[in-house]
Amino acid sequence: MDLTKPYPIATPETAPFWEGLRNEQVLLQRCDDCGTWIFYPRSNCPNCLSTRLNWHQVSGEGTLYTFTVTRQATAPHFVDEVPQLIAMIDLNEGVRLTSTLVAQETDDLKVGAKVTPVFDHVSADVTLLRYRLA
């Protein structure tokens, strides 16, 4: 069975985000009409449905909203990553995203901790946005 990692495949809407990560930059969309920061990238603002969205570089820094330590893989594709440190990160701009934490000691992980981006170049084409404690 083919258990290669299910890496993301960029779409016309999301390509700038993935291109940014390859260059170790975090790019977010922002609505020109209502000022809302947007994640994940999309064609219409989830606050006012405007299509006038533009890309802005941000620090990528944020806080740990919540996390878990998996004791069994969430799918066979992730067996080599157990215990997976799956997390939700609140970026300083107010958007939330899914990530994984790069950490040696899980005891140090606390909800509300400051976190900083780790650009993980998993293949020639794909960089994933992981996090570590700041």
């Binding site: 069975m1 083919d2 258990l3 990692k5 299910p6 890496y7 993301p8 495949i9 960029a10 779409t11 999301t14 994940y40 909203y65 919540t66 996390f67 878990t68 330590v69 998996t70 004791r71 069994q72 893989a73 969430t74 799918a75 066979p76 594709h77 992730f78 990553e81 997976q84 799956i86 997390a87 939700m88 939330r96 995203l97 899914t98 990530s99 994984t100 606390k110 909800v111 509300g112 794909v126 994933l128 992981r130």
Partner: protein
Amino acid sequence: MKLEGKAAIVGYHEYPHIRKYTGKRKFTLGQWADLTRLSLDDAGLEARDINGIVCTEIRETVSFTPATIVEYLGQPVNFAERVDLGGASPVGMVWRAAAAIELGLADVVVCALPGQPIPSNPNPGPVDPRRFFQSSSVNWGSPQAEFEIPYGNLAQNCGYAMIAQRYAAEYGYDPTAMAKLVVDQRRSGALNPNAVFYEKPVTVEDVLASKLVADPLRMLEIVMPVAGGAAVIVASEEIANRCKHRPVWIKGFGEHLTMKTPTFAEDLCRSPVGPASSKAFEMAGVTRSEIDACEIYDCYTITVLLTLEDAGFCEKGEGMEFIRSHDLSCFGDFPVNSHGGQLGMGQGGGAGGMTQVIEGARQIMGRAEKRQLKRCDHVYVSGTGGIMSEQAALILRGD
């Protein structure tokens, strides 16, 4: 716009919940027909009385589902609906049936959810590894395929674990209280012959000693997948009054959705069942204190805790104390999942939430045998789909 409360659950059938099904296998369509026959029998109705169906997905087709079922049953209908709300579907199906009946579209509506394995395909083809992603769509362009699955945030365990972890940070967490919830439900489940854990109660120590799956959730706080399946018949007032059992009137409902992936919930500790339940109580004109039993969707212990709080049975942050200070078994002062819940019965796939609807009806009809509550006129039922993504509530009443 509200229900008049003049449609009722008049009959039901629930397959026994079995860990390893060894009986005769039927296709989903065959199970649909069989569940329809058995629940019509239970109500005292006949095949030709049916004029509406509400279904979910079936294994034999990806689309045109209601027409495929109607053709197989051989019964023409005036109302056909396919509901796609995950674990909230059973509650969603029942209120849609009631609404269709009150609008005069139909007067006998079958809501069925097959949950047994189908015959083995002699030409199965290769296993698609994407099946491991379960309810997370891997289709190109799906937000989950791009922003969740690559990080391993998929299936249910890790999402519910992250809800529990956030709750712990905001309000505190008592693993012993969560274990007691399982113990109380399993005490009721031990008296339910349809339950996979019939005659198998557990102790707080058993729960706390069970394997950690995703912090802080342990194995016995998570439903066990089983073979199951269930159906209910919803009928008009005129028909309900001549069926076999005490009619179970559908007095109020609510439904609320905000996201697919919990990453995009505004507040993970305040679930959509809050607004859904408020609407249901308001529509029914019933207060929380009038409720005799709560049948709460319980894929995980944390789901029940949040539902008790968000539906207004206790304050936010007080759920753990509420569980500690009440006996939640069918013998207790505040019965929750008097059938054992899905934690006690096992989860028959998408049919799991129908066990909550049926137990509500069973208690009001007075048919719960050893688990029968002394008085049961008002029941609160909740349904939860995905990871607190789509939630729905019902208020049932016996006159």
